[in-house]
């Protein structure tokens, strides 16, 4: 039986790799739906894309656009049900409680987001994938991560009060518990959570005008109302007096943070003369990266340039910018900020 089939088997074995020439030629003559589209796709490039924007700039009229949007639509008629939130919070047992912040009727409601910033689009479309690919650590199947031991110290001794006491932190002054380095997954790709712009104005102890100018400048460049802070301690060397207002901060989140970073990286930092980049030693080991701008450099922001005369030139402060990410190490935080466009120089601190 097997012998009778032998010639046939041999023939199939030999012909297995040989295919008719028609099949090879076919793709050349076949016509797909994408055939027409292909030449157009190939000719497109980044260099050609720059040709259009002149028309975009010429036609850009935000006021006319918003007017056109509103044209056909009337406002909704007022509702008969009008609820006013209490102006004061009178404690948890009071029958009239404030609304949650997310409710548009709440006094503390903040509308938004209004735009999808370009930085966020870039992050979602490219940066996140790139970071995941670059920092991914592959483990073979069956791998078990070593168990993390207790990193806090127990209370040693025979005092009966040690029993229920919370564990001690790491030994040494100024030592803190480092963040755990979780394996990278698609869920923990580092992203920018906040940007804090901080400006310390010790001259404000003599003349509060410095404080006002610093506040207005930070508000102009960040789109956020600033918060002012008092000195917490007397520091004789710096002439600080406890309880005096000495600094302002603006904390940017979400949309504001993205807009600020775009403006900073694309427009302001490249204008600085002989700027080397962010020092590579920056980074606190917990995913935060900070750098400073001098008064001259801060004046390069377009918001300040447009009415530079409004600010007394001697009172323009410098500032520190801290980019807070949810990365757990300097390396990851730097990877993220580099992808966004911040250059680093010098020795990197890892």
């Amino acid at each position: 039986m097997a012998l009778r089939e032998l010639p046939y088997r041999t023939a199939t074995a030999l012909c297995r790799d040989a295919r008719p020439t028609v099949n090879a030629i076919q793709p050349l003559f076949r016509r797909n739906a994408s055939t027409d589209a292909a030449p157009e796709v190939e000719t497109t490039s980044f260099a050609d894309a720059a040709a259009k924007p002149d028309a975009v700039v010429k036609d850009f009229d935000p006021i006319a656009r918003s007017r056109a949007r509103r044209r056909g639509k009337k406002q909704l008629p007022p509702s008969r049900y009008q609820y006013r939130e209490p102006k004061y919070y009178r404690g948890p047992l009071h029958p009239h409680q404030p609304l949650p912040v997310s409710d548009p009727a709440s006094r503390r409601f903040q509308p938004g987001p209004f735009t999808l910033p370009r930085l966020d689009q870039t992050y979602q479309s490219t940066i996140a994938q790139d970071i995941l690919a670059m920092t991914y650590q592959h483990y073979p199947p069956g791998y078990r991560a070593p168990k993390v031991e207790q990193r806090l110290r127990e209370w040693q001794g025979d005092s009966p009060y040690y029993k229920g006491r919370p564990l001690r932190g790491p030994r040494g002054k100024g030592e803190v518990l480092r963040l755990l380095q979780e394996p990278r997954t698609f869920r923990n790709i580092p992203k920018i959570t906040k940007v804090v712009v901080h400006s310390m104005v010790p001259e404000a102890m003599q003349d509060s005008a410095n404080m006002h100018v610093a506040g207005m400048i930070l508000q102009a460049i960040t789109n956020v109302r600033v918060e002012s802070h008092k000195a917490r301690h007397n520091v004789v060397g710096w002439g600080l007096r406890e309880g005096r207002y000495v600094s302002v901060t603006a904390t940017l989140e979400r949309e504001d943070a993205s807009h600020f970073l775009e403006k900073l990286i694309d427009v302001v930092l490249p204008r600085i003369k002989e700027w080397k980049g962010v020092p590579g030693s920056s980074g606190d080991g917990h995913g935060n990266i900070s750098f400073g701008l001098t008064p001259d450099q801060l004046a390069l922001f377009p918001e300040i340039e447009v009415n530079y005369d409004a600010y007394p030139p001697k009172m323009i402060p410098g500032c520190h910018i801290t980019i807070i990410t949810d990365a757990t190490s300097n390396k990851d935080a730097r990877l993220l900020t580099q992808a966004i466009g911040l250059p680093f120089y010098g020795k990197l601190n890892d």
Partner: protein, 156 residues
């Protein structure tokens, strides 16, 4: 009817929902003012970078369009390998250009070749140049394409 005392979990949830505005380390017995958040007025601004690309921003700056001359697209720090950007001369006040316009020879003023066609040097060197005039474009042609064909700097 007396108001029932809320359960501890309900109280906790309530406290969490209003936490950012009633943050106190100690018990507070007075009524706390719930402040309306203040936000500066912002405009939509179109920023056009030096290579012509544009994007919109929300800023406190009332100019509708901002055209920047110096930015990330033409700064050598962001494009360290670009010869085109490294060779550009720093002439923001226009002094070098003014000097060249006044004292420059043909060799200096590359851009103004057509204008300076009747200068003395051109007339003198005209006879010698005519022989290799057809050569010059062919020599320039291979040199010119690389910057154009070079892929545009990658966005971000």
């Amino acid at each position: 009817m007396a108001t029932p005392i809320p359960s501890p979990s309900a109280l906790r949830a309530l406290r969490a929902s209003i936490a950012p505005y009633t943050r106190h380390s100690q018990q507070v017995r007075h009524a706390t003012l719930l402040r309306r958040p203040k936000r500066p007025y912002t405009f939509t601004q179109l920023i056009q970078l030096s290579d012509g690309s544009a994007f919109t921003l929300r800023t406190t700056n009332p100019q509708p369009v901002l055209k920047s001359a110096k930015d990330i697209r033409n700064n050598p720090l962001w494009h360290p390998s670009s010869q085109k950007l490294l060779n550009v001369e720093e002439d923001e006040a226009g002094r070098l250009a003014a000097f060249r316009a006044k004292f420059g020879t043909v060799w200096d003023s590359e851009g103004e070749k057509g204008k300076k066609g009747d200068s003395l040097l051109d007339i003198i060197g005209g006879a010698a140049k005519q022989t290799d005039a057809p050569k010059a474009p062919s020599k320039a042609a291979p040199a010119a394409p690389p910057p154009a064909a070079k892929p545009a700097p990658k966005k971000k």
